[in-house]
Symmetry: C2
Subunit: 259 residues, 2 copies
DNA sequence: CTCTACAACTGGTTTAAGCCAGTTGCTTGA
DNA sequence: TCAAGCAACTGGCTTAAACCAGTTGTAGAG
């Protein structure tokens, strides 16, 4: 492995630059192990901390990940999953029982698998309560936590909040709720989706999300807050989708109306 | 300032936890200066490097920013700008000469200011060339680089690529192109937008973007790749919007069609 | 009064050393 | 043969010290 020093700059940058160019040149392929911190330090004639700083820089860039006790490895090529809200109709909704966002996910996901973490009754977080118009007298909503896998890799964490109109209506709490899923049950109860809204932000993963999604530190996630409105314009469901952002993109299409 | 040590964990985490709870409790307000690294180390009985590591953790979380020679400061409250593609028609397009994304930005931005960095003729990057259907014989497109400010804060960097049909058509290169802007000129040339697409990903800011957007290290950006299609379904414009993600969200609404 | 120069701060980087904790493969003993 | 245990690796974290590079206020020169 050729690790010629680069001109100028700080020692830590020089090490990072040398390793980075090995990666971009393909001499270090995804999955390959880097020289150890101690070895890098020896080759560049620096202290171990300086080599360590170089690896921190590369980790921040998302090029490598460190594994305690094993070594530092070049990260796998980033594969993009794309999701969006094209081609959506009420009929699609009735037939699939899926919101546009979930539908697009189901379309493009070759080996989808859902793991239901929990279903329970909770007080929603502030941003969800706001979008659900949840009154203070009725603070409790139904919450379902899922993890979605694609090819056995965790790809997104979904938390769904549903307005809890009837506390006795325990059917919604069942994991398998029948044809059309939980949305079929909601339609039977008079909640037909007529329009929806997706709000998208990028942020850093929380500690727990990073663990669930098997993310290295310092990687952003895409959060989509999906709100479904019923025939009265009342929100009846809010879902929070958290994607690993290095693997997930979103596609939105819009027609230009002719008025 | 009360900086009681917290139980358990590593020294660097304990310092970070103590400072974080001061911030969330409001005892350290946005804009306030933290104790210096040396002072933190003294108070917690650790080496300066350990206090430094704690500040690195808080910086990664986006809670504080360090300024060389001045100190470490609590970051300002994060203000969200929301943009989206609601309520868009051809008439709006003709009247404003703005694509949906730009329009929503103009709507919600109280003190918008645009700084045109450059207008030139270039070979587009791979992802843009793909979306523009740019053939290898016609690799050159018109590129315009802008920086958008809101209340004098840099909020997004925009790079627009336009298919360069006529190399002699230098009017498009002018900063002020007349009523309807550059889109008005495009419509005169037979490019009327009929539909569009936004692709959204989250990623880390490049070094240059971080400088332009005045971002601390380790903060994600939202990138929107906006494609406009003309009456023949041919793409004629691709814009890359890069937002500072801690201040920018996106809102997309979709009606459920009745078929 | 103004401007310069400096002292005293701030964070930024590096060194060299030590210990801890996870991983891996080999040796050794049953 | 097999499994336990150990040695030798890996990264994770901390210490203590040094020097560099920006910032800021002030003392002193003009």
């Amino acid at each position: 492995m050729n690790l010629d020093p680069v001109e100028g700059q700080l020692p830590s940058r020089r090490i990072a630059d040398a390793v980075r160019s090995l990666i971009t040149a393909g001499e270090l392929a995804p999955g390959d192990k880097l020289p150890s911190e101690r070895e890098l330090a020896r080759r560049f004639g620096t202290a171990r901390n300086t080599a360590r700083e170089a690896i921190r820089l590369l980790t921040e860039e998302g090029l490598v990940t460190a594994q305690h006790g094993r070594g530092v490895f070049v990260r796998e090529k980033q594969r993009m999953f794309r999701w969006g809200n094209e081609r959506y109709s009420r009929r699609t909704y009735r037939e699939t029982g899926l919101t546009p966002f979930r539908l697009e996910m189901a379309r493009q996901n070759k080996n989808p698998r859902v793991e239901v973490t929990s279903i329970d009754q909770v007080t929603p977080p502030f941003d969800v309560a706001e979008r659900l118009n949840a009154s203070p007298e009725e603070p409790s909503v139904l919450r379902r936590c899922n993890t979605y896998y694609a090819d056995e890799e965790p790809i997104q964490v979904v938390t769904t909040y549903i307005r809890w109109a009837d506390a006795e209506d325990t059917l919604l709490l069942q994991p398998k709720t029948g044809p059309g899923g939980i949305y079929g049950r909601l339609e039977e109860r008079g909640h037909t989706m007529t329009t929806g809204q997706d709000e998208i932000i990028a942020r850093m993963a929380s500690h727990q999300e990073a663990q669930t999604l098997d993310l290295p530190p310092g990687v952003p996630v895409l959060e989509v807050l999906h709100t479904s409105l019923d025939q009265d314009g009342e929100p009846f469901e809010v879902s929070r989708f958290v994607h690993r952002a290095d693997r997930a993109g979103l596609v939105y299409t819009f027609p230009v109306e002719d008025r």
